[in-house]
Symmetry: C2
């Protein structure tokens, strides 16, 4: 089955909003075996919306549309849908009541803008939206299903989960698409591709492989397309086993597991606790760790030692060490890790000190230099890396490198 | 002038990669007065790529293409470009030498995949890429310029900044588009739209207004389109003055200034220092603050007190306070703020304790409850909010609310 995603909104085209909705919908539709043939972002303009709708009608099975349904005057999707589906706006009593209740709960009063949100095209089936004020709308034309949803991510996701996905699943079932991700860390893309040349050549026709790099992690995505789910599952499993044979050292997890999820899982298994001491990453490692639900079970806390006085004061790093080796040094990283582990009384600690940039680089320690130390009762591992890139990329690369070292320390990998 | 953006890659369509490239290119092209007519994401498939190229040829002035130029076999953009522009791949000596040097610097050796990256379509003008191994390519057909770039964000950005933007600026200059953003915090979208009904009705034809909400912040984007830059500038300025008259209390900054930039700017002006104490936000506030270059001038550090023992131990929150009022309470937030300010010896401190979810909510303190305290020599302000949403949305909403309270404390706003 084929689907297309249309995102409406000037803010997308001028780059003020990143289109995370399309990615999320693409992932969900893939899970129920839809092939996304294209994603298109268009402005809040009548002609562009009509053109995109016409292009899709009769070509794909399903068109998902988001955006342009807000309470403000720049949102014109609803009248344009009426024109395309040759219908008119009518008041929907149930939507009106739901909006009233929602506003009451938030202590807002109803205004004309809200009332306008209760109007829907007469010919559509309304998808009631318990998480916001704009309802979803389901149309059919030329054999294609068109579903229009608000652009607010939480509202779109609610409608997709409650209405769209279950109904599409009921209606379509023939072609099957299965994805399997193998997560790797520690090699470059071209190098990995070279290692896997033979593997790729021997893959069955039904399977394809993609390389998806991000901050040092390369996700290997295997995709199988066919009609027999069990057969595809067996084929994928066999390819995964081959990967574990060819590149055992760099695989750290499967599926969509991030490095912070993997370390969390390992800590949980070992019933061990963790703390962090961050300089240049400024709280990002703590943020990644705590973005995993349930992290309070193993994570105790962090000292963000942005200023050197915090390194010496709170983390007990000897001032002499900083004078002799500089704040960005193996010695200081190790002292930070030991200081943090003592302060928080945890089984493991991670410490990071480096130069994220754009300022602060020197010939000896250019922007992108980072020292990372992992301390535990058993041992201390400290390493220096030379990355290099802009500030926010460095902060992410340093963070992932630190979590990877922690993972290796916990799992006993070398 | 009109432009279109084509993003190539299966990973975009199945939602495994969020298309941040298109947003970035859209923003840059807008700055040099290009109107982006659409953004389209298509799979690594020959027919889809050819179709997208044909659809754009002769319709827009410029087509920016990213993706599918990597060293791995799933990348097919280059041969498809050859087919579309009726040319063939030839070896480019300069690209080969640049790849060699780059690999040498990273201590990687050259392989066949890398050598293939030095092949370019004969009819294109090569845009040399000093930041990666895949070069950019500039074609012209039916009056349309096609520019193909790698999908790796850093490499694409490098080519855009060094080659594409400067050359397009030289070649085109007629229609002018000006954007101006006014950043607001503290009201709901429908409410704000109601307040601005009269303002919108009286705007000149050449100007449009959009509402862009994100974690409590609503960005008001004014867009002026015309031919006379000075006139448009005057019109925009006059609208901005009107906004300051109508909604003075909720405007916190202009342009793309985030809350963490605003607070940083205010701290710098006052020559004041800051520290943070975070529980449920788990380092995200520290991360936001330190994502601003130069933040080390005013930011000293943070204690992420994820575990209650860290609140009592490091931040000196009396155990009795937690027992009596619970860890999520005005009393504990205030004690955390005072404890942190003493620990780090700063002028201001921000403390946050709340329930981010999905676990940990109670009838009295449901998921989304947060207590925030700002402490300074002059006074202490502590407030409780009830948001509600999923974990990562809550972490962001809490963080922005805390930074907004800090902003008000520093600027003396009520």
């Amino acid at each position: 089955m084929r689907a297309e995603i249309i995102s409406i909104g000037d803010e997308l085209l001028i780059g003020q909003t990143i289109n995370t909705n399309a990615a999320w919908m693409g992932a969900e539709m893939s899970k129920i075996s839809f092939l996304i043939t294209r994603m298109i972002s268009i402005p809040d303009k009548k002609e562009d919306i009509l053109k995109a709708l016409s292009e899709a009608a009769g070509k794909v099975d399903v068109v998902l549309i988001t955006g342009g349904l807000g309470p403000t005057s720049d949102d014109i999707t609803k009248p344009v849908l009426c024109e395309f589906f040759e219908t008119k706006l009518v008041n929907d009593e149930k939507v009106l009541r739901m909006i009233e209740e929602m506003l009451l709960r938030r202590n807002f009063s109803m205004n004309d803008n809200n009332r306008r949100q209760a109007e829907v095209p007469e010919s559509c089936r309304v998808l009631y939206n318990a998480s916001g004020t704009a309802p979803g709308m389901w149309f059919e034309k030329q054999g294609t299903i068109f579903i229009s949803m608000p652009g607010v991510p939480a509202e779109m996701k609610h409608l997709m989960k409650e209405h769209v996905i279950p109904e599409l699943e009921k209606r379509f079932h023939s072609q099957v698409i299965i994805h399997k991700n193998i997560m790797t860390y520690g090699t470059a893309e071209a190098k990995l591709a070279e290692t896997l040349t033979g593997f790729e050549a021997e893959m069955p026709e039904s399977i394809s492989l993609a390389y998806l790099p991000s901050y040092g992690i390369i996700k290997l995505r295997l995709t199988a397309i066919g009609t027999d789910r069990d057969l595809l599952r067996l084929q994928i499993d066999s390819q995964v086993r081959n990967l574990y044979r060819i590149i055992p050292d760099i695989i750290y997890a499967e599926d969509e597991e991030t490095m912070e999820m993997t370390t969390g899982r390992l800590l949980r298994t070992k019933n061990a606790t963790l703390c962090t001491a961050e300089s240049c990453t400024g709280g990002n490692i703590a943020h990644l760790i705590t973005s995993v639900a349930g992290s309070s079970e193993y994570y105790k806390g962090s000292v963000v030692a942005y200023d050197n006085s915090v390194k010496t004061g709170l983390l007990n790093v000897p001032e002499k060490l900083i004078e002799e080796h500089g704040a960005v040094s193996l010695e200081v990283a190790e002292a930070m890790a030991k200081g943090a582990r003592k302060l928080f009384s945890t089984d493991y600690s991670v410490a990071v000190t480096g130069v994220a940039g754009p300022e602060g680089g020197t010939a000896e320690k250019p922007v992108g230099t980072v020292c990372i130390s992992i301390d535990s009762k058993e041992n201390t591992v400290t390493r220096k890396f030379a990355f290099g890139g802009d500030r926010n990329i460095n902060i992410m690369r340093f963070s992932v490198a630190a979590l990877n070292m922690l993972r290796m320390a916990i799992s006993g990998a070398k």
